[in-house]
């Protein structure tokens, strides 16, 4: 094969590669790979997750969900910033500001208990939403993928519980623990 042919082939594959890379679906899969929630999934599994996700766009200051509302979906931030806040009678406490790649509202994947905080976009924000019942549907269609997602969720909840226990232990006087 001549050098000229080789160069032409290389150019063709590069063009195809660029075209492939620029497809929104691949972009989304690439993004999902960076999210810890889905880090155990293969490309094929990420695609089946990506297929059931909804992309939503929010304006600055627009509420994504509000405290007390029943939760239905997990949100991943594609770009933008989201504030997680709780409102009390006189004050608002900002719990966190989340950026690209972060996720929130994950407890909604388990049940529809009310949201414990309000999520509000701080600037124009794009999110991906994973609906609870779509994930349940995935259990029947692709049990392995769904199982891995639930395992990630369980791991995350276990980490938080551990952290909470540590915080409680730190704040509780030693002699109080176990008395009773």
């Amino acid at each position: 094969m001549s050098v000229r042919n080789l160069t032409a082939d290389k150019l063709l594959w590069e063009t195809l590669g660029r075209w492939k890379r620029s497809s929104p679906e691949l972009d989304r899969i690439q993004f999902l790979k960076t999210v810890p929630f889905f880090d155990r999934l293969s490309n094929r599994q990420l695609k089946s997750v990506s297929d059931i996700m909804f992309e939503r766009k929010y304006d600055a200051n627009e509420s994504i969900f509000e405290e007390g509302q029943p939760g239905a979906a997990l949100f991943l931030i594609l770009d933008g910033k989201v504030a997680v806040e709780i409102f009390r009678e006189t004050s608002t406490t900002r719990l966190a500001v989340l950026e690209k790649g972060a996720f929130f509202g994950e407890m909604a994947l388990l049940d529809d208990t009310p949201r414990s905080a309000t999520a509000r976009a701080l600037e124009r924000t794009r999110t991906l939403a994973l609906y609870r019942n779509d994930l349940r549907g995935l259990v029947h269609r692709d049990a392995k993928t769904a199982c891995r997602i639930y395992r990630s969720l369980a791991g995350m909840i276990a980490d938080r519980l551990r952290l909470t226990n540590e915080l409680v232990q730190m704040k509780t006087p030693t002699d109080d623990v176990g008395s009773g």
Partner: protein, 433 residues
């Protein structure tokens, strides 16, 4: 003015503009949609039927999902499986669909037997000379029988064809002599109807069988047969395209919902999907169970398997229409029981002459089983619609769209009921109202 205030003002203006735009767009969609529905009303039914079929068969598609196979190929395989089942079902049913000769034979037999039963009914009490009901029955049923006779009358071509078949036609053996006798009796009967009461000696005013008034051009209004046929071609197309859908349609419509109602819409759509799916699939299973019960019962009564299955299929399918389904099962079953001959019940001790009575008992048993066992077992309490609502819905459906309206009346009520209940419940949960 600070930057923040300026930004707020711009945002407010934008929101107002957006509201006007959405309202205008919604009004435009409503007007155009209304106009299209009005003009293309012929397409509505095929679209609904195609969509409902796709909806009912979705679990089949989901069940045979293979992870490593592309979606399109999986759908094609599902269609192939459905096609195969339909092909075998149609092939089996085709054997029981009467041909031209059998249709003529059946018409002759039905007319003869109906008149025979009618004469028995009218003549018996009169002989006893103690019954004043007979003239009343005759007065009420007489015109009805005239209409039956008219509708069962063979036209000249059919008569010629029957006589040809009676002598052996198209390589087929000649029709049984018994049916030829029926045919001759029927020919005479047409003249006898006027003097029907004469042998009993009752002074009944004579009635003439008025020749059937020529049907006025029924197709002067409404779409032509070709238009209807091409419209119905849409049903399988809709079924196929919806079969290929992998959630894109749902994603598209959810995408149109404002952010504020995003999670709410997901929940409402999901619950509706569940309720309608469960109702439709439940109804299908219920119809199947009713059909099987009727088929078994009719076979036990000695009715030939093919006929029993045909009656059961029609009655089972029509069972989707509450009340009407049972009535139609009764009419078809009784209709056959009246013309049936050489019946040998499989249950010992049954008198073949009382077949009509047994059919009535069978239909009643099936109806009770349906109400007490099948419906609660299959549909559960998921769809509780008040009987009065059911009756009003069926009548309204029949007034709007005839038989199809009756068939779709209850699913429509279920959809509206579930949609409204879920929507309000969720609006409250999401603290929107």
């Amino acid at each position: 003015m600070s930057n923040g205030q300026e930004f707020e003002e711009i945002e407010q203006e934008r929101k107002a503009r957006r509201k006007v735009f959405y309202l205008t767009f919604a009004a435009l969609v409503l007007i155009v949609g209304g106009f299209l529905i009005w003009k293309l009303s012929i397409l509505i039914l095929p679209i609904i039927v195609g969509a409902l079929l796709a909806f009912v068969f979705r679990p089949v598609k989901e069940r045979f999902r293979v992870r490593w196979l592309p979606h399109q190929i999986q759908v094609l395989c599902s269609f192939a499986a459905i096609g195969l089942v339909l092909f075998f079902a149609f092939n089996t049913l085709r054997k029981h669909i009467p041909d031209e000769e059998q249709k003529l034979e059946f018409k002759v037999r039905l007319k003869y037997k109906l008149n025979e039963k009618y004469r028995q009914l009218v003549a018996k009490p009169a002989e006893e000379k103690s019954n004043a009901v007979a003239p009343l029955i005759e007065k009420e049923l007489g015109p009805l029988m005239d209409k039956f006779n008219q509708s069962l009358e063979l036209n000249p071509e059919e008569r010629d064809l029957f006589l040809k078949y009676a002598a052996g036609h198209n390589g087929k053996p000649p029709i049984q002599g018994k049916f030829v006798d029926y045919f001759r009796a029927n020919q005479r009967m047409r003249k006898y109807v006027i003097l029907e009461k004469a042998p009993t000696g009752a002074a009944e005013p004579t009635r003439t069988v008025a020749p059937a008034p020529a049907e006025p051009g029924a197709a002067t209004e409404g779409p032509s047969f070709e238009n209807k046929l091409s419209a119905w071609m849409l049903a399988p197309l809709i079924f196929i395209f919806l079969g290929f859908d992998n959630g894109q349609i749902r994603r598209f419509f959810i995408g149109l919902v404002p952010n504020r109602y995003f999670e709410l819409s997901l929940t409402v759509v999901d619950r509706l999907d569940d309720a309608i799916g469960n109702y439709l699939r439940g109804t299908l299973i219920e119809c199947f169970l009713v059909g099987v019960t009727l088929a078994l019962g009719l076979i036990l009564l000695g009715i030939p398997v093919g006929v029993a299955v045909a009656i059961a299929v029609v009655s089972g399918l029509l069972n989707a229409i509450p009340f009407v389904g049972t009535a139609i099962a009764l009419v078809i079953g009784l209709g056959y029981a009246l013309v049936a001959e050489n019946i040998r019940p499989l249950i010992p001790g049954l008198n073949p002459n009382d077949l009509a009575l047994y059919v009535v008992i069978l239909v009643v048993i099936t109806h009770v089983l349906d109400d007490v066992v099948f419906q609660p077992f299959v549909l559960g309490s998921a769809v509780n619609v008040h009987p009065l609502v059911v009756v009003i819905a069926i009548i309204s459906g029949s007034l709007i769209m005839g038989l199809w309206g009756m068939l779709f009346a209850i699913p429509t009520v279920v959809v509206i009921k579930t949609a409204v209940a879920t929507f309000f419940e969720e609006l409250k949960d999401y603290r929107i109202i």
